[in-house]
């Protein structure tokens, strides 16, 4: 039955070819460090699922943000789990992204012909850091408030453009409802869009070019 449906669709749009290209591609003999990219992708999917679930209850305004987060954590069934997965997943995301980057760097896997994959990876690194920075403010507790105060102030000391960057990030001179709203919008709309575009290109290139082998001594 399932096989028949599979055949029916394969005859029409040849999905098995696509499947084989993605999951049955040839790879060189590699080691466990080569799983760091997949691990990052797995956590990214975790962030997407738990993040979507959190938006069902979270409200990004100063008078509701903290209370809605407390409600999620203490009142909802499995709310602590969903938020916990998103919270710890965020840290895991940064750690795994950097670990993946280091693997690619030390194995020289960024070299010809994989420069563009590396560049999209750099965009993804910035997006991940952006996720971390904007997401940190959303619980609107003391730690969030002061961390963002400090974080935006750091941007403010950049020469020439600093005060501009600071007021654009905060949406004014002070940290306010405007800041919370724009951090939320960036966190759930702008960055996910950028992430999806970059990660699609990144994965396309990984599959299209194939992955590099572990370099030999003297290579």
């Amino acid at each position: 039955m399932l096989r028949d449906i599979g055949n029916w669709m394969d005859e029409r749009f040849g999905w098995r070819g696509v499947w084989d290209t993605i999951f049955k591609r040839k790879i060189p003999h590699v080691n466990w460090f080569y799983t760091l990219g997949s691990a990052t992708l797995f956590v990214a999917v975790n962030q997407a699922i738990t993040g979507i679930l959190l938006t069902l209850y979270y409200v990004p305004t100063p008078d509701h943000a903290y209370d809605s987060v407390v409600y999620i954590t203490t009142q909802l069934p499995a709310g602590w789990l969903i938020r916990g997965l998103h919270h710890w997943g965020a840290s895991a995301m940064v750690i795994l992204t950097v670990a993946h980057l280091l693997r690619v760097f030390f194995y020289g896997a960024y070299k010809y012909p994989r420069e563009v994959t590396w560049m999209t990876g750099m965009v993804l690194l910035l997006v991940v850091i952006g996720f971390g920075f904007t997401g940190y403010l959303l619980p609107w507790d003391q730690k969030a408030y002061w961390a963002t105060t400090v974080g935006t102030r750091i941007a403010g000391v950049a020469p020439f453009v600093g005060s501009w960057v600071l007021s654009i990030a905060r949406g004014g001179q002070e940290l306010s409802a405007v800041t919370l709203a724009r951090f939320f919008g960036t966190h759930v709309w702008v960055l996910p869009t950028l992430f999806l575009l970059s990660v699609s290109l990144h994965l396309f290139l990984v599959i299209r070019i194939g992955i590099s082998a572990v370099p030999e001594k003297g290579e």
Binding site: I49, L53, L56, Y57, H64, D67, S68, V70, Y71, Q75, L76, P77, A78, G79, L81, I82
Partner: protein, 163 residues
């Protein structure tokens, strides 16, 4: 796809073993996400309404044979928001002993009904629903009489059970 060759003594080929392992672990991870997610989404909908006795006011206020509107403020908790809400109900007694407490919410589509003394009926402003003194439907679209609350009198204070 051609089956992979099995080595002597193997019941399952390496490829199939991998497939089964991936499907098994993947399935477990899938369940670990799906089950909590469903509970999380449905949680507030499945919460049982808590019932409580709320004091409406002194029974002395009720005129015999005339529905009297009682209003009181109650504390409500919806999600993470605590609110004060107005609660109102009509109280009717024919003998000064037993009390009928009726909801003032029209059973048609939820507008508030009003007692018109001159006509001796409850009228709903939305779709001309008319209820008699004891809440029975007189005319109009309402499908059933006005809802009644369980009530009790303690120390001359009338209580109703809400929820």
């Amino acid at each position: 796809m051609p089956e992979e060759p099995k080595e002597a003594g193997e019941k399952v080929s390496r490829g199939n073993f991998m497939k089964m392992t991936i499907a098994g672990i993947g399935g477990l991870i899938g369940l670990a996400y799906t089950i909590p997610s469903i509970a999380y989404v449905l949680g507030p909908a499945l919460q049982k309404a808590t019932s409580e006795w709320i004091p409406l006011g002194s029974v002395g206020k009720v005129e015999t044979g005339v529905p009297t509107l009682f209003k009181t403020t109650i504390q409500t908790q919806t999600g993470w928001i605590s609110n004060e809400e107005e609660f109102s109900a009509y109280v009717l007694t024919e003998d000064g002993q037993t009390y009928i407490v009726m909801s003032n919410v029209c059973t048609h589509l939820g507008c508030r009904v009003r007692w018109i003394e001159e006509k001796g009926n409850f009228y709903c402003p939305c779709h001309n629903g008319v209820f008699s003194k004891n809440g029975a439907v007189v005319s109009g679209p309402p499908p059933r009489p006005l809802d009644r609350y369980e009530s009790k009198v303690e120390n001359d204070i009338l209580y109703v059970k809400r929820g």
